[in-house]
């Protein structure tokens, strides 16, 4: 029986064949076999992963040194960005509407309550992990040269993390947020020289209508303008500032020679004699 020549049938390519194809190669610039070269390329040729160096101190991957706190803080920031954007789809920063939107998110939006809860608990967690991260950096002396500047970036991140939480507190426009923000911004009134009730404020011609508190609230009371300002600080301005600071923070970690340790311990003899250089 003679075979009749037919057109080759379409056959799904195997994974191995796919990896040789144009599409795969256009995405992944390296092979996957476990060679040191590929392991390095996996990190270096990926825009997100190249935040990392290709290789690091073997003991720095242990949990006990960094406690993973900086990384977890950053991860929580990402969670907050995602859940925050989802919440923004349903939220109007206007008096009256804001509170109704929160009710709507809680009761009607699919997974709305879950998203809101996650945003809230991730925010609280981020405060805790930032403090713990600072605590670890202190205990390992990682602010010492050459990392002084990065510690300072960190202090600013600490400030902005707390300001993010504070500005978010007002957004549900409920009693809790209203009074917390009232108490908080009343303190601004007492700013020396720039507050209407602060030392030397009145003497400088500062009133309730031109002091720092007025600038924060966009008025002399916590009302519609304050809600809008809190919203813009919370959803736009501070996230941008914090992101820029994080970019600098991460960049500096690399430029300061990666994570500080675990470094070989120093002994008193090193301070007088030549420092013994070892692993």
């Amino acid at each position: 029986m003679a075979e009749t020549p037919t057109k080759p049938k379409f056959k799904l390519p195997s994974v191995a064949e796919l990896k040789e194809g144009q599409i795969w190669k256009s995405i992944f610039r390296h092979k996957l076999d476990e060679t040191p070269r590929n392991r390095s390329l996996a990190v270096l040729s990926n825009v997100f992963l190249h935040l990392h160096p290709a290789k690091i101190n073997r003991d720095a991957v242990r949990y006990n040194y960094t406690w993973g706190m900086g990384g977890i803080t950053f991860y929580l920031f990402l969670v907050l960005t995602i859940t925050g954007v989802l919440l923004m789809f349903y939220y109007h920063p206007s008096k009256g509407q804001a509170y109704r939107d929160i009710m709507y998110i809680m009761h009607d939006v699919p997974f709305g309550n879950f998203t809101r809860n996650m945003h809230r608990w991730a925010a609280h967690s981020m405060i805790i992990t930032t403090w713990l991260h600072m605590f670890r950096v202190f205990l390992t002396g990682s602010y010492k040269p050459p990392r002084e500047f990065n510690w300072n970036i960190g202090v600013l991140l600490l400030l902005f993390t707390m300001l993010l939480s504070f500005t978010g507190y007002l957004l549900p426009d409920d009693q809790l947020g209203f009074w917390a923000v009232t108490v908080g911004t009343n303190m601004a009134r007492a700013t020396p020289v720039l507050g209407s009730e602060g030392p030397f404020g009145p003497q400088m011609g500062i009133t309730a209508f031109n002091d720092v508190r007025f600038a924060l609230l966009g008025g002399s009371i916590v009302d519609a303008n304050a809600l809008l300002r809190a919203y813009i600080w919370h959803c736009v301005a501070i996230p941008i500032i914090a992101s820029v600071l994080m970019i600098v923070h991460f960049w500096r970690i690399r430029k300061d020679g990666a994570i500080s340790g675990p470094a070989p311990v120093m002994i008193e003899q090193d301070l007088s004699g030549p420092v013994a250089k070892k692993a």
Binding site: W121, L176, A263
Partner: protein
């Protein structure tokens, strides 16, 4: 005893994080100190045996000759980061399913909340309002805390302990940080969260919040203890300025003596600006517990009263 009140505070959804933190902070303090002491023992061993120090890898982590000192980020670090992300996500998912974020009544400027508390992480600042006027508690002290934190790398001249846990080599800086962070900052938060009730009054755990409790204003300004009346403005201001000045002078002098005795190397290495900053920050930090003691123990209101501001 009414433990119900404490229960209400502790289980308020927004307070769950601080309850968690009350466990995390001691744990991580222990965890860090444990590694510090391990390194301290290694340091002692190496200092006693300089020959060993020349060949030792100088870490408490295991080390075998021939091991690379570095590892690839992929997979050794990334797999851990991935795992951490999964664990954190799981915790958040479970937490978000079982605990709802609170929502109070709509904002109402005519209905004051009592007590009206900031979120727990700001309660340290709010508690400071008891002891200082808002311009100090809300503006100056936070500024000094941030400025002081930023100054740390520039005033800590000790080259030891850069990149490893140690207690022995950094006793002074570790004590200062523990007092400032673990004691002052966290204790103020705990007091603000668990102790303060309506009218920001002191209610011990187990006491019921009494919304009608009346306190007689017993607090007096310091100059009144010395027979100067509030109406004698100039005399009172002069007295207060002298006391505040004396506190800084005596405190500065005491710090100087103590530093010279207990941290002689720091004193020798620091330049004038570094030394002055260290002393100023120390004196101001201890000003807080001293003012707390004066207020809570001796019913002192202000130590310095002027027509423009009070301290």
């Amino acid at each position: 005893m009414d433990w119900h009140q404490l229960m209400i505070i502790t289980t308020a959804p927004d307070n769950v994080p601080i309850v968690i933190m009350l466990f995390l902070m001691p744990f991580y303090t222990w965890y860090g100190l444990k590694q510090s002491f391990a390194n301290d023992r290694l340091i002692e061993k190496l200092e006693a045996d300089p020959e060993l120090a020349k060949t030792h890898h100088r870490k408490t982590q295991p080390w075998v000759k021939g091991w690379d000192s570095t590892v690839h980020v992929w997979p050794y670090l990334l797999k851990i980061e991935f795992l951490a992300a999964i664990i954190v996500t799981l915790i958040l998912v479970v937490w978000s399913i079982f605990l709802d974020a609170p929502l109070e009544e709509p904002a109402n400027p005519n209905l004051t909340m009592n007590p009206s508390k900031a979120p727990w992480y700001f309660l340290g600042l709010q508690e400071m309002l008891v002891y200082f006027d808002p311009w100090i508690a809300g503006v100056v002290l936070p500024g000094i805390i941030l400025g002081g934190l930023m100054a740390i790398p520039y005033i800590d001249v000790n080259p030891r302990g850069n990149g490893y846990y140690t207690y022995k080599q950094r006793k002074f800086s570790i004590w200062m940080f523990f007092i400032g962070f673990l004691v002052l900052w966290l204790v103020l938060i705990v007091v603000g969260t668990f102790i303060r009730g309506p009218g920001w009054m002191w209610f011990w755990p187990g006491e019921t919040w009494d919304h009608h409790r009346i306190v007689h204003e017993l607090n007096r300004n310091l100059h009144e203890f010395f027979g100067i009346k509030d109406s004698e403005v100039l005399k009172a201001a002069g007295f207060g300025a002298t006391v505040v000045g004396a506190y800084f002078a005596v405190g500065g002098f005491a710090c100087d003596r103590l530093f010279r005795k207990f941290a002689p190397e720091m004193v020798k290495k620091q330049n004038v600006a570094q030394y002055a900053t260290t002393i100023a920050l120390t004196v101001m930090m201890f000003g807080l517990p001293i003012k707390m003691l004066l207020r809570l123990g001796f019913t002192v209101k202000y130590v310095m009263v002027t027509p423009w501001f009070n301290i």
